[in-house]
């Protein structure tokens, strides 16, 4: 038998108090924890990248505890296939549908359709224009704003630098790129010394990002910073900076899921500062939200439940540790 100590006593009292309150509360909604056998379908933009692999790992860990299933329908970066996979997923009538939106508009109509058919839709990391039951993911507005503010600090008035910035989005219509660009340009608007000299999408490909950067650096040898919207493609941009021997002059910013490759890139000076939304933690958040949704939990006013991912800033210096990154 476990002895009651000074530490455990308050916990026991709190426990009794909660039970009493629940008993008195009476008629409120009751959670049904017996969710074994329920069905969850996840339609990612693509598996085979650590981001989505980490999410699936997190979701499946939760599914194993409760005995529900997580079925992954991989769209392999093919947006046409994604709409078809989602249509099929809706017709399979899962209890929860997890959607990873490639653009703000592409799946909006289908998300609405799924919700109207009683399927709870959890959007993960990239949000559509269409709200649904829940969203788990990064706050892109915050990332865009914070990186832009850091760029202003490093390249703006008083820094002695040119103020020239190149932005490399994944796709101009991708949810994260749209929101980050909006937030960053809002910050830059108040700082006319910052000049965005290039804003060209890389289609998420490192080689395209490298080619764009190599060209832009030639035209703007005093470039101060590069803001890449995904760490993987931004590594190509960082490689171009390094090939031009400008790694001590140009600061390369990126965002990403924060796996061990990101830490390696920071150590190799390919990337300088990465705002990581910790894909591993997001996987756990997604699993928890799915547990709650399957047990009948929804926002009191049926608005969208939002779980914002905490940020980790990975950069060289005293705050750096390889433990900031996760390994699959």
């Amino acid at each position: 038998m476990v002895p009651i100590t000074k530490n455990t006593l308050p916990k026991i009292i709190t426990g009794f108090a909660i039970c009493a309150l629940l008993a008195l509360g009476g008629g409120g909604a009751r959670a049904d924890s017996n969710i074994a056998g329920k069905k969850v379908i996840f339609v990612p933009i693509s598996m085979g990248i650590t981001l989505t692999e980490a999410w699936v790992r997190g979701m499946k860990q939760h599914a194993a505890i409760y005995g529900y299933t997580v079925d992954v329908r991989d769209a392999h970066f093919n947006t046409g296939a994604m709409s078809e996979l989602l249509a099929k997923a809706i017709s399979d009538k899962p209890d929860v549908l997890v959607v990873h939106n490639p653009t703000v508009q592409l799946l909006a109509r289908q998300i609405k359709q799924a919700e109207s058919e009683g399927i709870k839709v959890l959007q993960i990391n990239l949000q559509s224009n269409q709200p649904s039951t829940a969203f788990v993911g990064a706050n892109w507005e915050r990332i865009g704003r914070e990186i832009a503010e850091d760029i202003v600090k490093e390249c703006g008035t008083g820094s002695g630098k040119s103020g020239e910035v190149a932005i490399i989005p994944g796709q101009l219509t991708a949810a994260d790129s749209v929101i980050m660009n909006e937030a960053a340009f809002k910050v830059f608007a108040a700082h006319p010394e910052i000049k965005v000299v290039s804003n060209q999408a890389s289609d998420w490909e490192p080689e395209k990002a490298r080619q764009i950067t190599a060209t832009v650096i030639q035209q703007h040898p005093n470039l101060c910073a590069i803001f890449g919207h995904w760490d993987v493609h931004t590594m190509g941009a960082g490689k171009a900076v390094k090939d031009a021997h400008l790694e001590d002059k140009v600061i390369v910013y990126a965002t990403g899921g924060g796996d061990d490759k990101t830490c390696q890139a920071v150590e190799d000076k390919i990337l300088d500062r990465v705002w990581s939304y910790d894909a591993d933690g997001q996987g756990r958040d997604a699993g928890t939200v799915i547990d709650i949704l399957l047990q009948g939990g929804v926002a009191a006013d049926h608005s969208m439940l939002k779980i914002e991912s905490p940020m980790k800033i990975i950069k060289t210096g005293p705050t750096y540790s390889p433990n900031l990154c996760f390994k699959l």
């Binding site: 085979g48 392999h76 970066f77 490909e205 080689e207």
Partner: protein, 337 residues
């Protein structure tokens, strides 16, 4: 039709064939002049170096594709082979195998792909377009799922021998990728112009049945052409992987590289029905794409707008090609593209 008239017709066709090349050269000159005047930073030595290094992989691939198209073939598996070859090299060298052996393994892998392509076309007699389209799918699927375990991306460490080699200069001012591009270009030109293999390639493109009936070894030549294209793809793969630090399968599934390679060959003036053209045409086509791409990046056009413009250029080029090289009883055959 008399022999004199036939010769006259052939001469006219040759002149017409080269007209597209002159149009493209005129367009390049116009683009270079206007970009130099209106785009700051375009007419600099540094930018010329960037244009050359950004075009290295494209030109190397075009050498392979050019040879295939001259023989009246088409290789849609070129980019898949490129990524597959780079994957084999990266995985082998990262697992501690010495780089010459890793390169040998990669050569073997792409050689097998090229051989199968050639065999399907020459012996099974499947059309080149369908055979290579199918092999591209098989190669991509096999390497992604069996070799990489479902991964899309393979990040190369900075210690990878390809990364080290291609990051350096062969001689000051001449980077390794650009040097390899020049070597591939010259080698292909020599093969096409001075060897029996090259003459048979032209003969096959000009009139495949006639070449076959004359007793030329069209089947073994087809095998060699596709193996050569696959080797060029491996070289391009090594250049791309080393310069970006990644082997990226999305180059096959989503990228526009294959489209650009065909664009280079066709724009340069090598007709899709083969038999004509040479490395000069590849140079002209690559120059147009490289200048266009560089200028569009410098003026900060979005990637989508760039794709639209490149697509329009291809349509105009193919329409122009069709106008100047009309199909007739000499060139139009069953199974023609």
């Amino acid at each position: 039709m008399s022999a004199g008239m036939l010769a006259l017709k052939a001469g006219r066709a040759r002149r017409r064939g080269s007209l597209l090349e002159y149009i493209v050269i005129a367009v390049i000159v116009a683009l270079v002049l206007s970009f130099s005047i209106f785009i700051p930073g375009f007419a600099t030595l540094g930018n010329l170096r960037v244009i050359a290094s950004n075009s290295a992989a494209l030109v190397i691939l075009s050498c392979g594709m050019g040879m295939v198209i001259i023989s009246r073939g088409l290789d849609l598996s070129l980019v898949a082979t490129m990524v597959a070859g780079a994957t084999v090299f990266a995985l082998s060298s990262d697992s501690g195998i010495a780089w010459p052996l890793a390169l040998g393994l990669a050569l073997l892998a792409v050689g097998v792909i090229g051989f199968i392509n050639g065999w399907l076309i020459a012996y099974v007699e499947i059309s080149a377009m369908l055979a290579t389209l199918a092999s591209a799918m098989v190669v991509t699927g096999f390497f992604r799922y069996v070799v990489l375990g479902g991964e899309y991306l393979l990040l190369l460490p900075k210690t990878n021998p390809a990364v080290i080699f291609f990051s350096g200069d062969i001689v000051p001012g001449l980077s390794a990728p650009v040097a390899l591009m020049i070597v591939s270009f010259v080698l292909t030109a020599i093969l096409l112009r001075t060897t029996t293999f090259g003459r048979i390639t032209y003969a096959m493109g000009d009139n495949f049945q006639a070449a076959r009936l004359t007793g030329l070894p069209v089947r073994t030549t087809t095998l060699m052409i596709y193996v050569y294209a696959a080797v060029m793809a491996l070289l391009a793969g090594l250049v791309t992987a080393a310069s970006s630090g990644t082997v990226d399968f999305r180059t096959v599934t989503n990228g526009t590289l294959l489209f650009e390679v065909i664009l280079v060959v066709v724009l340069g003036g090598i007709p899709l029905r083969g038999g004509r053209g040479g490395m000069r045409n590849i140079f002209v086509g690559a120059a147009l794409i490289a200048v266009l791409r560089n200028g569009m990046t410098l003026v900060d056009l979005t990637t989508q707008t760039q794709d639209v413009l490149k697509g329009l250029v291809l349509i105009i080029a193919i329409a122009t090609d069709n106008y100047f090289n009309p199909r007739d009883t000499e060139t139009d055959t069953v199974g023609d593209l």
